[in-house]
Every structure is written in C-alpha cells, then in structure tokens.
Amino acid sequence: MIFPQLSPNWFLGYNVALELIFAIVALIIGAFAFKIYKKTNQQQIKLFGISFAFISASYIVQAIFNTMAIIEANEHTNLLIELSSIVWFQMMGVYTNIILTIIGLCTLAYMTFKTNKTRILYLMIIISLLGIFLSANILYMFFLFSTIYLLVILVHFIKNYLENKQKNSLLIAIAFIFLLIGSIHFMISVNHQLFYAIGHILELIAYMLILTNFYLVLRK
C-alpha cells in the first residue's frame, strides 16, 4: 500500500525535528510518572507513564522513518529503487507509528475511566487496530480514532480543571485542546498537505504547555 505524502515538501525535515521534540517531552513526562509511581504505587500513575512512553516511542519511530525516507529520496537516482525503498520505509513507519500511538492513547483514555478491568483496555486496542487496518483509508481512520480518544482524554482533563481549579490543571486542559485540534488537522491533511504542518505547530504549542506545567510542578 502506498500512503499519500502528508507533509508539504518545504516542511520535510522540520517535521522530523518537531517529532523529536515531542518524543523528548513525552519521554520526560512518562519517566517522571514512573518515578512518582515508584513512590506512590498508584495504578493510574503507572498507566499514565506507560501511555506517555508509548506516545514518545511513536514519535521516535515517526522521526526515524521520516528521516530514512528523506535520505533515501536524496541518495538514489534510480527511480524504481527510490520508489520501492521509500514506500517500504513509509509503510514500516506508518504501521509502527499507528500501533504505538493507538496503544498510548487507548492506555491514556483507559486511565481516565479509573477502573482496573484491563480487559477493557485490550478490547479498546484490538477494536481500534482492527478498525484502522481493515479500513480502505488507513491514515484517515487512524487520525479519526486518535481524535476520538483525544476527545475522551480532553473531557477528563476539563473535568479535572473544573474540580481542581489550578493553573497547572488549566495548562494541561489547554494543551490537550491543542492536541485535539492538531489531530483534526492531521485528519484533514490526508487531502490537504498544509494541515499536516499546522497540526505539527499545534502539537508543538501543546507540548510546550505540558513542559511548562512540568517546570511549575518541579518548582514547588
């Protein structure tokens, strides 16, 4: 299967840099959640850490395969070799990214349910991955599922802010609003490349807000 190029040509390279930034921020948050989990033994914190670890891994995979595709495209002059290798890198990158992102988002959404029935989590992951990989438009379905899970997660963070009106919880709720809008832009980017770049910029704002919150937490 050949996937459409989502990124406009002028944005190639920048997308990789941004994905690496997102990966680092998600990794920092995930690692810190594990550190807190070791001190508290709270199941929700562990799930939160796992979800951010998967999200971080998905960005790393995305960045690696996007870089390899760019390098392959620049190195080969033979059109057939170029096409086959680019398609292979692209497919591997897209599939791995979809699996990691969906596991990360399902875990985060499951965490918001505050239940310990892990079968619900497995069911969410299986249904999502089957729904995505069996659809005619894999990328579109992936972004659709991601948007739905981000909406569920956002509802949790908005509720959290309303119950606990603090600057920190507000920052996180706003960050997830940006992530949700970014995800909607990625959905549109299947047909309009510019939205892919806008989606990345919205994600950058979201991760900067998450990082700001982390700094404020550490300063306490």
Binding site: N41, H156, E163, Q166, N168, I172, N213
Partner: protein
C-alpha cells in the same frame, strides 16, 4: 465545605502522623490523627506495610507499633511535587 480526601492525601496524613509523633506510634494514635474509620485504617495500614512505606513491629509486651521506612520518608519529602503532578493530570 472541605473537599473529600483522596488516597494520596490519606496516605500522606497517615505517614505524617507516624513521622511527627515522638516515641512509639500505636494504631490508636494514627486513627486519631488521620481521621479514618477503624476498618479503613486497617486496610490502609495493611497496604502501606505491603508496599514498604511503614514497618509493623512488636514491643516486649507483644503490642504493635509502627515506623516509617525510607520509602515512607521519601514520600513525605516529595509530597508537594507528587501532589502537583497528580493534580495537573487528575491522577488521584
């Protein structure tokens, strides 16, 4: 009206009641300071022992008393940061 305490806060209150008491800490002292029912306290203390936050010991008269472990002390010293992180994401 005061907000209902979550698990992290209850654990904090139990650990604090043990740390701040000079001398031997018995279950009645924790019960009084942490403002919990006896049944809830037994559950929490059992969990805290199992997870390594506190130690249950017996004196010469075979009466139980409690001490904080390093993990318990660490929890108290990092509580503000833990609280900040947990409240940001609604993990409590």
């Amino acid at each position: 009206m005061n907000k209902k305490r979550d698990r992290l806060e209850i654990i904090h209150d139990i650990l604090l009641s043990i740390r701040d008491k000079t001398g031997v800490v018995r279950q009645t002292h924790i019960l009084y300071k942490s403002n919990l029912s006896h049944q809830m306290l037994v559950e929490y203390v059992g969990e805290l022992i199992e997870k390594g936050f506190i130690l249950e010991k017996k004196d010469k008269k075979k009466k139980k008393f409690y001490e904080l472990t390093d993990k318990g002390f660490n929890y108290l010293s990092d509580y503000k940061v833990i609280r900040g992180f947990v409240d940001s994401y609604g993990l409590g």
